[in-house]
Amino acid sequence: MWLWFHRLGSGPTFYPFAGRLAWLLAIPGLLLLLHGLYGALWAAPVDYQQGQGYRMIFVHVPAAWLSLFIYSSMAVAAVVALIWRMKVAEVYIIDAAIPGAGFTAAALITGMLWGKPMWGTYWVWDARLTSELILLFLYLGVLALDQAIEDKRQAARACALLALVGAVNVPIVHYSVEWWNTLHQGPTVSKFDSPSMDMRMLVPLLELTLASTLLFGTIVLVRMRATLLWRERHSRWVGEIVEAGQ
């Protein structure tokens, strides 16, 4: 197990493995995305309160879920990077932060587009919206730190530190609607005992959430492959791969 773990952490093993895994995630991801979109826009019935407008949830929740999931995974990678100095984990932090920032921005924008017709405003400074905005700044902070520090190993340590410290914000975002009173509504899906949603609405929502998580996996693996090639461009295995045109 440990041997496997260590071998996977090295470039020559990780590169082809990540390439195969990227496709393995992309194919079910794309199929689920298409089926989920069909359900979200067509098959699911209208909502008793919000009519067609509630269909915003099918993109808002996956984006918001990814914003939290990706940051949590970065914090786990940060622990691995700081303790074992594993190169793959260091690379993961930065390469996950880029799509992570994108999905966080998407969660904020889709939320604003949903808030305007339903709440009557694009933005309020309640605990949920504020903590999600701070999450975006944390992602941008990690990326800025990586850009600012010349030495890549040193940059990786700094980024890992920020990813780890910033992780305290993740539970704050998630529980903000329960800990404080907010304009944002309470949790719908995470109440596993009794999700407050009709099945015909819940299924496409879960499909789209799973699909975007799988496709995020593809994106981060594609990015990591390229980053590893560039970092180890003077080593022999990279030469062989590039010359072979793989």
Binding site: Q52, T110, L113, R223, E243
Partner: protein, 54 residues
């Protein structure tokens, strides 16, 4: 069909939010693939340059 695109009057909010989400998803994927190609080409160029000097 028109009714579908009108989305009960929420079209101006609903369609842009789907566009934003899908643009982020496929934009991140596309740029990741494009960046990989660019990096492989750059490495190849660098190697060729070194070989020529020899």
């Amino acid at each position: 069909m028109t009714e579908f695109f009108a989305m009960g009057g929420y079209a101006v909010y609903l369609w842009p939010s789907y566009v934003v989400f899908l643009a982020v998803l496929f934009g991140a994927w596309g740029t990741a693939l494009w960046r990989g190609r660019r990096i492989r080409r750059a490495i190849l160029r660098e190697r060729r340059g070194r070989n020529d000097k020899r």
